[in-house]
């Protein structure tokens, strides 16, 4: 839409450059860890990272790396390599890309630094357990599995005891690998910073309640990187404080991420990393703003269970209650809450071939949302990294028709 180009400048978020600089410095630190006598731990995206930070271990996230591989459109090559190694094409594309990348040091940053240990928390899926076992064998390093039982219904006393006990086991594991004791005061401090970071991230996302919204979910997918990778560091707190100020300013000045925002949509599931630009432009062309998503809010969604005065004692519960570790009924409640909060006109669901725990309940959530709020939803079949699962013309027709329908609904005055 060439007529919208003059307004392109209002879209530029100043913090973007700062983010790129921080991420570059972070990966340089991680890749030179050995020279600086630092240890590297690979950890799952939803795992409790704070003890690592407290012990000065550099956390590295294969999932964040997977997102980078997807965004750089290097997914097919690495997925095919993994398939040639004998992994099924039905396996998660993050896992496939990571497993093959480790053997060739490929991808956009020449591979991740080799780990000294692996920390796997299964509050996001079950695949990570086998994936991390594969990598533990490949790199010959110790693996800690933090097992968070799936919350079909309630957080029972048994689950509570079981999850909490593992936090102490986790700390002993880290102390064993590093040969150092963890400073409990330092841990308290990191817990406090982590909480502050999550709170700021929630506030950043909350600015999208403004009409027009100062940011889209595509912006959130980008700015998410620090709350995932540098949670618990002062750097992330400072960054989100700056981003929040910028977003609040835009909201106050009435600057929308989508000039002439007409429709407010909610995104569900992981981004389609290799099609972010295309999708962003597609929705913008229809004056539709994806104002919120269930994905980026997962890094602040359960922080109410954190007690900053007893981080170690309370973190297990917050991590066990993560979005993807909840039964469909609870997920639907969260989606309904977001619909009300952000005043949503429709939901765009990415049925992600890679992510079964995220995609499995979508039909049910669709039904619940339709029944309780009368909000339509659209299902797009794709994959977060493996481009072979994406069909442009099919997705385009679905989006176009979905917007036509929402437009008609709005005209009719719902």
């Amino acid at each position: 839409m060439s007529d919208k180009n003059p307004e392109k400048d209002t879209k530029t978020v100043k913090s973007e450059k700062k983010m790129r600089d921080i991420m570059t410095a972070y990966y340089i630190d991680a890749k030179t860890a050995r020279q600086n006598n630092k240890k590297v731990a690979w950890i799952t995206s939803g795992g409790p990272v704070e003890p690592l930070i407290a012990m000065d271990i550099i956390p590295v996230y294969p999932e964040n790396h997977g997102a980078m591989i997807g965004a750089s459109k290097m997914g097919i090559d690495l997925c095919e390599k993994a398939e040639a190694m004998g992994y099924s094409s039905d396996l998660c594309s993050y896992a496939r890309a990571d497993i093959s990348c480790a053997t060739v040091n490929g991808g956009p940053i020449g591979g991740l630094p080799a780990p000294d240990m692996l920390v796997c928390c299964n509050n996001i899926c079950g695949t990570v357990m086998k994936w991390y076992e594969v990598q533990a064998r490949y790199f010959q390093v110790p693996l800690f599995i933090y097992d968070t039982p799936f919350l079909h219904t309630e957080y029972s006393p048994e689950i509570k005891r079981y999850a909490k006990r593992q936090m102490e086991e986790y700390i002993s594991f880290l102390e064993g690998v590093t040969g150092r004791k963890m400073g409990r005061d330092r841990m308290m401090e990191v817990g406090r910073i982590s909480y502050a970071g999550s709170q700021l991230w929630q506030e950043v996302l909350d600015t999208a309640v403004s009409k027009p919204s100062p940011m889209t979910a595509f912006d959130a997918f980008f700015h998410l990187a620090l709350i995932v990778t540098l949670r618990g560091t002062q750097q992330s707190v400072d960054y989100y404080r700056g981003l929040l100020a910028e977003m609040q300013e835009r909201a106050k000045a009435g600057i929308g991420a989508i000039p002439g925002e007409k429709y407010r949509l909610l995104w569900d599931n992981l981004p389609i990393w290799y099609r972010m630009k295309w999708l962003a432009e597609k929705f913008a062309e229809h004056d539709a703003c994806l104002v919120a998503d269930t994905y980026t809010s997962a890094w602040c969604g359960s922080m109410q269970y954190i007690d900053v005065h007893d981080f170690i004692g309370s973190a297990a519960e917050a991590y066990t209650r993560s979005y993807l570790n909840l039964g469909v009924e609870k997920m639907a409640r969260i989606v309904l809450g977001m619909i009300d909060k952000y005043d949503i006109d429709g939901i765009v669901m990415h049925s992600n071939r890679s992510c079964k725990p995220y995609s499995f309940g979508q039909f049910d959530i669709q039904k619940i949302v339709e029944r309780e709020r009368g909000i339509p939803s659209l299902l797009i079949e794709a994959d977060m990294v493996d481009e072979r699962s994406f069909s442009e013309s099919q997705v385009e027709t679905r989006i176009d028709a979905f917007i036509e329908m929402i437009r008609e609904n709005k005209v009719a005055g719902r």
Binding site: S351, F363, E370, P376, L379, E381, S389, S391, S393, Q394, T397, R398, D400, A401, E404, M405, E408, A412
Partner: protein, 257 residues
Amino acid sequence: MLTIGIDIGSVTAKGVLMSDGALLAAKSCFTGYNAEQAARSVYEGLLEGNHLTKTQVKGIVATGYGRNSVPFADKAVTEIMCHAVGANHLKPDVRAVIDIGGQDSKAILLGERGKVLNFIMNDKCAAGTGRFLEVMARALEVDLDAFGSMSEKADYAAPISSLCAVFAESEVVSLIAKGEKRENIIAGIHAAIGSRVAAMAGRLFVGGAASLMMTGGVARNVGVVQALEKALRHSVDVSPHAQIMGAIGAARLAQAA
């Protein structure tokens, strides 16, 4: 007011000429590899066949997969809305449409005046599409147009359980090898499509719709229509204009474009 609707599908390009809602003429051709060329061909065919000049036609709307490849159209609208408007135009009490086209199938719930209330499309798979039938016709060495009448002569529907077009084709080949009658295999293929599409449409509760219409090129196949009726446990209307329903809807929308 003369309007034209052009529906560029994955297999067939369809065009209709209408005058204030009355269907005057229709034209179609294979889409081939050049969607724009196919659109021009039906457009010019309609003009020449009816001795019209371009300026006499007051509105053109394009739809279908090639809708954005029609530079002379005033507007592009998705086939979901066009099939809904077309079905409503021919039968105002229609409340659900099932459209099976060359490369996808859709179920659409309609409100009054053809308003789209909700829709659903097949997942990324050839099962339940016209393409699936084409592959099977080739495997059976039968002209696809004969599928409908042949399936009516079947003793029973030979079971085809696979949802994948490639796997289903090999199932068909093994049924042929076992000496199964072609008619029975074809009935089995129709039953497979019927249950596949019904399962998808079931998510929209089309069974609750008072009046249900099937559109798209596959609706010409009476075997699929009957299989769908059986799977849905609901009668299915088919208009003689089923294949050009999207183009009719587009021409109707062109009146307002």
